[in-house]
Symmetry: C2
């Protein structure tokens, strides 16, 4: 079984794509809102509201225990490098360690002795050690320049700063991060561990109980926990600065902090931008994701092998669908939109009342409204021909990379955009063995082709060029069955060839090549007519916010370490009140025996031993998003009381704004983890390491 | 091949469901807008604008030649009862007349001699002969009453009027129709012919060339034409009052009239109603239709039989999808919504300026806004548990009818809602043999169950009751494989049984019965909290319109005879200009040989004979919607120049408002029909009857 649960995991690709829209935070900052950087946390606000005694030392301890994984968050929870995170952040590793004989995904990974802890391929653990303000240097490097020269200067100074601070030391990561849409730049310096081993993972069905129906919902009965350990020189890393494990559950109303790496938010979009997302981008994505979901679900009923290969793509699709649905839910909520409208009106009024400011920033709202007209016109061709080209086909994605590299290398040296290093990296990617299902590839390609014809119409020139005289189904079948791009050796061979050679060598490469100029043209149009003016205008909106509200703001999420605060609290929606806690006993009541509501075998076996009154999962008002998966949930004393693994459906509106009455984080409690380590999975050595007797 | 193309056909079920939202027309009436009744046609406006000489005699002639079919429109085009309509309005008949040896759907129906014209089962042709105002009598019957007594009095007077005017004469149809949301009532009296025979139908692939990709699009190359003939006493009916056949195409800018029966529009919804449709109803329908479409499309690839049984449901789904998509396109168009907002503001201002009027109608806009809050809360349970219950399953639909009848009959006689006649009608329906695919039934039921769980969540009491401990897939499989409801004899047997007997007799009946009280409860809630207050408020909005704008308004569509006017004209959208005409030669250029762009065999064979310069299809600004399929398109001289068969994608916004710059009707020209009857299908006798040499 290949599994990739993504819920609150962050995709770096997504983050990259969204940066053009990043911006600062709306105001006034309401209760418990905010993904605060550790150097600008509202200590006094929190202490006043919750009667806590947070101070800089408390913050430093938490920061030093927080761990960034690939796409996830985590924390040290013992002095010997033990890392707490989510099961869905380690399941890829569990899969990698599984064999035909030992299905650790199904049965869990629990060697019980440290010698058998096994390295997770590709995983790293990074601890933020320093935050250094480099705003002046970065801004100074671009001053007076524009266009390509400006971009080059910025890139150059960023690389220089990173190089100076980490210079070649493989134990360090240095990253210059933009905050507040370029309002501030900071160097984030990390201590990096690249031998990260798997310590414990429960059975998949324990971690993902409830499957898609329960995903982004609550009440919840998921043991979404996994333990890793950082090693160096073959030995566990010493981590005296770790979070103390508190095996007791919080009470309703208790204050909670979440330290982690939220991936991406877009809370400063203007009304015209939000309306276009609501009216066009999200509906198209919801509709197309739904039809593809239907195709894959039906395909998966056609046999055991079909079910197996479709499982992972279906998880991914259903997760994406819910994210879009939750985002759409916020933008179609009259109250949510009224609040956004009010905030925008307030900011515009403040600008209008300050002639100097108005003179400086102009009217970016009007500029963005005009940009939406262009975006509405260009979105469908851009989406179909460029952004979603290939429809998720792995073969297509390889083919496009090869074609674009060949076109780049065919240019005079001074006009090439891909460095030798980039070509080498691509070569390594192309060399990787990746399982490919021709059935799925045909579904992806024919779906994409038929939707492109449907949305751009039969009479569109690009559609005519794509299809020629073939049907989407026949063309997809011909390309998939005829291409050799599925073979790593062929891919590497192809990377060294000219466009003409590619066109001759392979039908899929020929197809991509024949349509690539048109795709690049629409990409350029989108970039010029939408992205560029959006970035310029959004920067001016951000300046207006700083001018109007000062610096007591949190920046949009950028997969960098943040701290949110809140409290344990249920919520009420449409007359239904959802309590803050679930208990282990509820799992047995919810379990029907039918997938995905079949309890894991370990839990069934232990029903008489386990304490059913133990708090299982709980919700809190903490403001988190994708990327926060695995984040430690921390009490006022700085002890860890759980691992955040999900948000409720309303939290997905957190992409655009935080609503404290509805947004909730979902956490698996240390109380439950302790109980199951003791009475379900029998891991005394782990309990001992966690300091639990 | 079972085929049901529905495009502009009207579903009476849909009409019935939509009546609660029907209302009068927005103002100011813009260019070419309106579905006018024949007793209130804006003669002077049209004559002034187009230099025509329309008068009452012209209108009477057109009315007398216009024919209403089941769900479609048509017209007499010879003195011997020959009827012009669309292929997709007769394809069900073609299917009924086909045998294993003779597939007339594929090959066309063209006997060439009158003796072989064959009766279309269930088809009728109705010609409107009288319009009698009965407003006072209907309104008087309800005066002073309310609730059930009011409804009973209205029903009783309606039935009395119909009975008095048509009393038992099988050659007449009498129907009291509500216009302007109850502002006016009229008796429509029809001459009815119930022996309607099939004269000519081209090959399916000629009529439906381009399939779903071209549906609701233009340029178009579809020969969507069929001929019927009305018979009486075994002889063709004499129809001296028919439209003269003009074999010449119109020119760009020529005036065009369309006489037919638009099914249903909702142009007077208030902004709060439109916004809820945009934000909730349409997205849910688009999303769910898309996923089901994906399931059926993938299922249809699993084999020849699967392809065959899924063809008709996929056509239906794809057509519905496009209708929702087009409607959504209007409601997410900033300009369209701005126009609607302006119209509403104007009307409200006029009311505000007239204290007496304001006193009389109050603030129905505020009432409707409040009602939307209730509707947003109730919509998902209502949609999942009642409106879409069963997800399209035929077995479920039968089972629910049987269960509801049994529950009704179990009541004391005086509390029953179903009359003996209604039970008898249900019995006839249950007795009918209908092909049922168990595969599709399982897809429908499991899809519905899984979406109900997804949208109402696992923790909803009704969801728990529906699923028990089973998965959606297992439950659907158990119900479909175990039920005998697919057997007409069993259905009739079941109709005479008590609820307890049903629960014991059959798993599907037991399932429906067990969940029916909850479904009825949410239906009652929806009715009380949404439908009732909506009807009351909408009536007051209609009164405000009459008061503000007088009677020079057209009523919303009610599948009653209307006349629209317009002109032959292309359109421009997002920089792309679409010309008004296509030519037969274009078919050969568009044909790729790949479904659905494979030209019909007749056209391929005749490529050298047919005149490729003949106008094929054309668009005009006429304001039509579903139900208008087959409507004669008429020139200023009262001659028929085509049969309307579709609208462009923008015309689907016509449900909510007419935009003359974009909305277009799509018509197959008499020029093309004449040409293909001559040089493709070789039908000299038909040409002769049409008066073409």
């Amino acid at each position: 079984m290949s599994v990739r649960s993504i819920r609150l995991m962050s995709s770096l690709a997504v983050i990259g794509a969204a940066t053009a829209l990043m911006s600062a935070v709306p105001t006034p900052v309401r209760a418990d809102e905010g993904m605060w950087t550790f150097d600008n946390f509202p200590i006094q606000v929190v202490n006043d509201k919750y009667g806590t005694h947070i101070d800089q030392a408390w913050l430093d301890r938490v920061r030093g225990a927080a761990v960034r994984l690939r796409g996830c968050s985590a924390s040290f929870v013992s002095g010997e490098g033990l890392i707490l995170t989510n099961h869905h952040c380690v399941v890829g590793c569990v899969q990698d360690l599984s064999t035909a004989e030992n299905d650790y995904v199904k049965n869990g990974w629990m060697p019980g002795v440290r010698e058998e802890e096994a390295t997770c391929p590709g995983q790293t653990a990074e601890v933020l050690t320093d935050i250094i303000d480099v705003t002046d240097r970065v801004l100074g490097a671009g001053a007076g320049l524009e266009g390509a020269a400006f971009n080059a200067a910025r890139t150059s100074v960023t690389e220089a700063i990173q190089q100076e601070n980490c210079a070649g030391d493989p134990k360090l990561t240095c990253q210059v991060i933009s905050f507040y849409r370029g309002g501030r730049y900071a160097l984030y310096k990390f201590r990096k561990y690249d031998d990260v081993r798997l310590v414990f993972a429960p059975e998949f069905q324990a971690a993902f109980f409830g499957g898609d129906p329960d995903n982004f919902n609550f009440p919840r009965y998921a043991l979404d926990v996994g333990f890793l350990r950082a090693y160096e020189d073959g030995k566990p890393v010493e981590t005296p600065n770790h979070l103390t494990w508190n095996p007791n559950p919080p009470a309703e109303g208790d204050v909670t902090f979440v330290a982690g790496n939220p991936g991406s938010t877009s809370r400063l979009l203007t009304m015209s931008q939000l309306e276009r997302l609501r009216d066009q981008s999200l509906p198209i994505q919801l509709i197309q994701t739904s039809e593809l979901r239907g195709r894959l679900l039906e395909y998966s009923t056609s046999g055991e092998e079909a079910k197996r290969v479709a499982l992972d793509p279906i998880f991914g699709l259903e997760n994406r669908f819910k994210v879009y649905y939750g985002q759409s839910g916020a933008l179609t909520d009259p109250a949510f939109m009224a609040q956004k409208r009010e905030e925008e009106a307030d900011l515009r009024q403040q600008v209008a009342a300050d002639p100097a400011l108005m003179q400086r920033i102009g009217d970016p709202w009007a500029d963005l409204a005009r940009t939406q007209i262009a975006a509405r016109d260009l979105f469908l061709p851009y989406y179909q021909l460029e952004a979603r080209a290939g429809g998720g086909s792995t073969l297509y994605s390889y083919a496009r990379s090869i074609v674009r590299a060949a076109k780049d290398q065919a240019r005079p040296v001074e006009q090439r955009r891909m460095s030798a290093a980039a070509i080498a990296a691509l070569n390594r990617r192309l060399a990787g063995e990746v399982p490919i299902s021709n059935d799925l590839e045909e579904i992806y390609l024919s779906f994409w082709l038929s939707k492109t014809r449907e949305y751009l119409t039969v009479d569109n020139d690009q559609v005519k060029a794509l299809l020629g005289r073939e049907s989407p189904e026949a063309l997809a079948e011909r390309l998939v069955s005829g291409t050799r791009v599925g073979d790593p050796a062929f891919r590497q061979w192809a990377l060294a060839r000219t466009p003409a050679q590619l066109a001759e060598a392979d039908p899929l490469l020929a197809f991509v090549l024949a349509n690539d100029d048109a795709a690049k043209a629409i990409d350029d149009q989108w970039s010029a007519a939408v992205e560029a003016p959006t970035a310029l205008a959004a920067e001016r909106v951000a300046q207006a916010r700083f001018a109007a509200y000062g610096s007591n703001l949190y920046p949009d999420a950028t997969f960098s370490l943040r701290l949110s605060y809140g409290q344990v609290k249920g919520w009420t929606y449409r007359g239904v009140t959802v309590p803050a806690f679930t208990y282990i006993g509820g799992l047995y009541e919810r379990a029907t025996g039918s997938e995905p509501f079949n309890a894991a075998q370990g839990f069934l076996d232990a029903e008489q031993q386990v304490n059913k009154d133990t708090v299982y999962d709980f919700v809190s008002t903490n403001d988190i998003v994708g990327g926060n998966s695995g984040s430690p949930v921390i009490n006022a004393a700085g002890e860890v009381i759980g691992a955040a693994f999900d948000g409720n459906i309303h939290s997905l509106g957190g992409s655009y704004g935080y609503d404290g009455t509805l947004n909730r984080s979902v956490t698996v409690s240390t109380a439950a983890i302790t109980e199951v380590l003791r009475n379900v999975y029998h891991q005394p050595q782990l309990l001992d390491e966690l300091g639990v007797d």
